[in-house]
Amino acid sequence: MSTLQRIMYVEDEPDIQAVARLALELVGGFTVKVCSSGEEALREAEAFAPEMILLDVMMPGMDGPTTLQALRALPALATVPVAFMTAKVQPAEVAHYKTLGARDVIPKPFDPMTLASQVRAIWEA
């Protein structure tokens, strides 16, 4: 199996963006493209060619699920694994997100030290 390198991370909150970037780049050694909205992610996704996408669920404008749907419509991104990130991880909700096509859900708050290995585990699953 090849190893995960390129991650697109979509999150509107600057504080969390910065921590996650650190966690993924410095701890995980990934190449990370951060987008601040679903719209931006759609514009950038094909050019960046991510191997995995992390989507915040609740964003103003396009929320996570809507962004996922739109990304799936792009041929190059039809099969790229996606994980949602959200503060709500009630079992029923997790199941719901999975039916939308997400591979898994990463609960917030996340631990900056373990985020990278969580992401890697989801990608390899």
């Binding site: 909150e13 969390i16 650190l22 609740m58 503060a87 991880v89 079992p91 997790v94 708050p109 030290m113």
Partner: protein, 574 residues
Amino acid sequence: MDASRQQDLAEQMAMLRAVYMARLPAELAELQALAGGLQGGEGDRPSLEALYQRLHKLAGSGGTFGLAALGAAARVLEQRTRVWLAGALDDGYAAARRAFAAELAELVQWVVPGAGERATPSSAIPAAHAAHAPDEAIQVWVMEDDVALGQQLVRQLESFNYRVRLFARIDEAERAAQDEAPDMLIMDVMFEAEGRNATQALADSPALRALGCPLLFITSTDDFESRVRAARLGAVGYFLKPIDIPRLVNRMGQLVEQLSAPPQRVLVVDDDADLAAHLCLVLRAAGMVAEVLRQPETIMEALAGFQPDLVLMDMHMPRYTGPELAGVIRQHDKWTGLPIVYLSAETDLERQIAAMRRGGDDFIIKPVSDAQLVAAVRVRVERARQLADQINKDSLTGLLKHASIKEVASKEIRRARRTGKPVTLAMLDIDHFKSVNDTYGHAAGDLVISALATLLRQRLRQSDHLGRYGGEEFLVVLPECAGVDAQRVLDDIRQRFANLRFSYDGQNFSCTVSAGHATSRHAGPGQEADEALAAAGDADLLAAADAALYAAKRGGRNRVCAAARLPAAGEVPA
């Protein structure tokens, strides 16, 4: 991750945290304004929607920046706005909105400056290994109007590696408390010049009370009333003048230990992945480290890798039951003391008892509230740790006992052999200790021993291992530490120890210590020796350190000597 990158990460995290903390007050104020403007009718929808969004963000971000309690409290409020938005904003809502606003105003209590630094990130990021610097210094504030006494305290505490700030006036400390907080506060009770009693000042000053750190009093009045007043203020120490510094430092050492106890580690074994994720989240929000085991077959590997303090286990899983897995765990001597708690809907008493007979320690009946779960886990882990400490640690110094430190030493020697990195063993012995005991009594002798123990704990890295080897003899294991570094750090400890002034019954005295150390020679990885050779290697290194200590004693004491000839790891001398 290498040390410099880790350092880099720690610094960047600290900066992000600072930015986040700086922004929080404004964010909370805006939330309060939104909640305060709620009118109690359908017109509130846009405000509620905004509150929902922002509380949701806060719930997600708080924990990441070490403010788990803030995150959890925000989550509760978020849920409430969500329920309201889903229905009609009727009279019930109108009545409840005030309580909501009041609770929201209380969120600010979870924003503790400094809390963020001690919580998840810093505990998850071990101190840099390469630099032979002790871990981050503990900040102590000393409030003492007698400047000479204050400065003497500062000097002595600094030699124990505390970072000390002296305040000669109460109002100076009050001002400083606006923007920073120490880890510990030492306070004289009477401030003659200001004519203020510090216990009263403390009760009156919200800034000082909000510090929330351990509080120690120094005083010349020893009456019941004063002691009660100190206890009411939550003091954890009460020291009479003239100050017995080693005793004060000893108490401070215990507090530091409590402050820096590693986070509790919980392994969750449950086939319901969603429930397991939820349990983990709850435990993590309480500052614990939690991990889920998905394949029960790998439980022994998971225990060895994760080193949990407690296993939380579902009773009924598809292929194996909880008691069966507990039985497997208990077959291994190493894990006989590990608390295993079943999480189950099993209310049948007979079957509960049967399950406990199979190696489980307790039951938590599902459904369980988050608070109950956290409390149940926390108490059991604390108890188990206390018990382990009593078994493994020396009661006077809190260091490892003879057998335990020897075991640690051979483990580190084996590891050094595997990794090809050096390990240093050092033996320390207090000079002329018998005469201290004979002249000043055993109580004074105990003080000297615990002072050296505290000094070692403060000056060495968290990754180093310290043991009380015999009466006044200590064994220290320094992994990944070369001989020159060991010489430097041990000599620094020697000098600091010699500078300590002990006082007993009005008599002042000081002590010195001698040390000898030996470092394993590099061995290439893969050159694993067999067990007999390994055991000989351990004894060899220890004997070399002991011989070096003897050389230091013979050379006139109060000095540190390196072993003359360093034995190669695994090499048996002819």
